[in-house]
Structure formats: structure tokens, C-alpha cells
Amino acid sequence: MNTQESQEMSATNERLSTAALAAVWESTPCGIAAIGSDGNVRAINPAFETCTGLASATVLGIGEADFDALLGTLQLERRRVETSAGGLRAVHYLRSAERRRTDNKALAGLSAALREPLASIYGFAELLLTQDYDEETRHSLATTVLEQAEAMSNVINDRLDTRQIEYAAAAQALTGSPQRAPVDHK
């Protein structure tokens, strides 16, 4: 690859990256406020207004201390991440109580969807190990374990991995670097 091709590819990648970040900025359900290096609120995304009920005119340009005071009265889950990228000082991420309730409900639904096939896997495996059955019954039980493992795998592929992708996209938009969703290694 010559220098010109390399520069063109680099420019293309940068355009794609910018477009992807813009899409996440616009579509993420997480409220985001960017604090400029001058300490004032430089930008907020659409979800910020939904989360807080505050119009952009109220927030843009105010100092971070006033911003903190303004948000302090609202029932929000908030996280501040320091950064020096793009002329920024910090980025605030917000999630409304309503959004948190929705997320909790979705997680409860996911938990139930995983527990159903897991109940069959656990139960039939225990029966196979502790009880005496004829060959035909043993085969039926093992087949059911396999089918339920596939059902569980489908739930993970369809629902859990989608959340991982959404998380990674949102995290990258917020911090400027690719991140993996946290995994609970129990």
C-alpha cells in the first residue's frame, strides 16, 4: 500500500468512526453531557433532555459547578469520567430512575428466560446421575438436556449478546476507547 492509499484509508476510517460515534450520541438511551476544557457544558445529547427534562438552552454554557447543582435536585444515576480527548475536561453519563426500572425489568425477564431451560438441564442431569432408568428413558433425558442447552444458548445469543454490543458501543462513545462489558466471573 502506498502513502496516498494509506492516507485515504485513514481518512475513510476516521469518517466512519465519526459517523458511528454520532449515531451512538444520537441514539443511546444514556444521557450524556460533555464538559469543555473551559469548565463549561459544551454539548448534551438528545437522551440528556429526556432523562433530566432540562432544555439544552438551560444547560449549555453553564459552569460545571452550576451543572452539578442543577442535577443534584434530580433523581438520577450519574457518573463523571475525566478526559482530555477532543478539548474536553469531563463527560457526565446519566440514567433516569425510570430508565433504571426499565433496565431492571429487562434483566429480570432475561433471568427468567435463562432459568427455564436451566431448570431442565439441572433437573434432568441430576436424575440421570442419581436414578436408574432403562436405556430408552436415559436417551430421552439426555436428548432433553441437549435441547434445553440449545434453547438456553439461543436466549444468550438473541438477548444477552445484543446487550453486550449495545454496552460496548455506548462505552466507546463515552470514553473514546473500545470497552468490553463487565463479566461477572463467579
Binding site: A108, S111, A112, A113, R115, E116, L118, A119, S120, I121, Y122, G123, F124, E126, L127, T130, Q131, T144, Q148
Partner: protein
């Protein structure tokens, strides 16, 4: 022999419980709370293994509450069996009068031991 009614909309779960209980109890099965109520009216079981989330006009919580409020059926030992793992769900199970609460996944042999203890060894039923 004591009679146990297994209520779950998942045939796999009914079969699994059936295999665990078949040597010590007479078993009946129903695929919904509505069908279970019809079974119970026809012949009162000694215990109910009752799933919570099922299609139909009643879920497991509602059937449990209905039975516990009826003097004719209040003495049936009810084991709620559910994939709802939140504390609020367990509190609701207690509120509607369930005698025990098994969270999926569960050990079918532990369920068999629980029912054997309650129905065969110690018939006086404790609350949840």
C-alpha cells in the same frame, strides 16, 4: 398414597417432577392454573407443585391465593415453583400463603424430599 398435582405449562418440567415423585406419590398433571383448579375441584390433592408464570386467566400466585382463601382447599400444601428470582416475587409468594418456594433451577430430588417430609413424615404443614 398421597396425591400431588404438578402444575406447569412446560411439559419438560412436569416430566422431570413426575420422574422424581412417581415412586412415592400418586401424581396428576395440569398445564395451566385454570386446568389445575378444575382438577382440584374434582379431587382434592394433598399437595400442589405450582409454577407461577403460566398462560391463562390465572397465574400461580392467583391460584395459590384463591385456594388458601377457600376453607375446603386451604390445607393443601402448596410449593411455588418459579423462574422469578426477585425478592419481591418471593415476598408475594409468602403473601399469598404458599408453604414453600423453589426457585428454578432446582433439584427435583430436593423437591421430592421436601414433599416426603411434609406429607409422609411430618404432615403438619409449616408456613413458608
Amino acid at each position: 398414597m398421597k396425591k400431588v398435582l404438578i402444575v406447569d405449562d412446560q411439559p419438560n418440567i412436569r416430566w422431570m417432577i413426575h420422574l422424581a415423585l412417581r415412586k412415592i406419590f400418586v401424581l396428576e398433571e395440569a398445564g395451566s392454573a385454570d386446568a389445575a383448579y378444575v382438577c382440584i375441584k374434582h379431587g382434592r390433592p394433598d399437595a400442589l407443585v405450582l409454577d407461577v408464570l403460566m398462560p391463562g386467566s390465572m397465574n400461580g400466585f392467583q391460584l395459590c391465593e384463591r385456594l388458601k382463601r377457600d376453607p375446603e382447599f386451604a390445607g393443601i400444601h402448596i410449593v411455588l415453583l418459579t423462574a422469578c428470582g426477585q425478592v419481591a416475587d418471593q415476598e408475594l409468594g409468602r403473601a399469598v400463603g404458599a408453604n414453600a418456594y423453589f426457585l428454578k433451577p432446582f433439584s427435583p430430588m430436593a423437591l421430592a424430599q421436601h414433599l416426603a417430609k411434609v406429607l409422609l413424615i411430618r404432615p403438619e404443614q409449616g408456613a413458608l
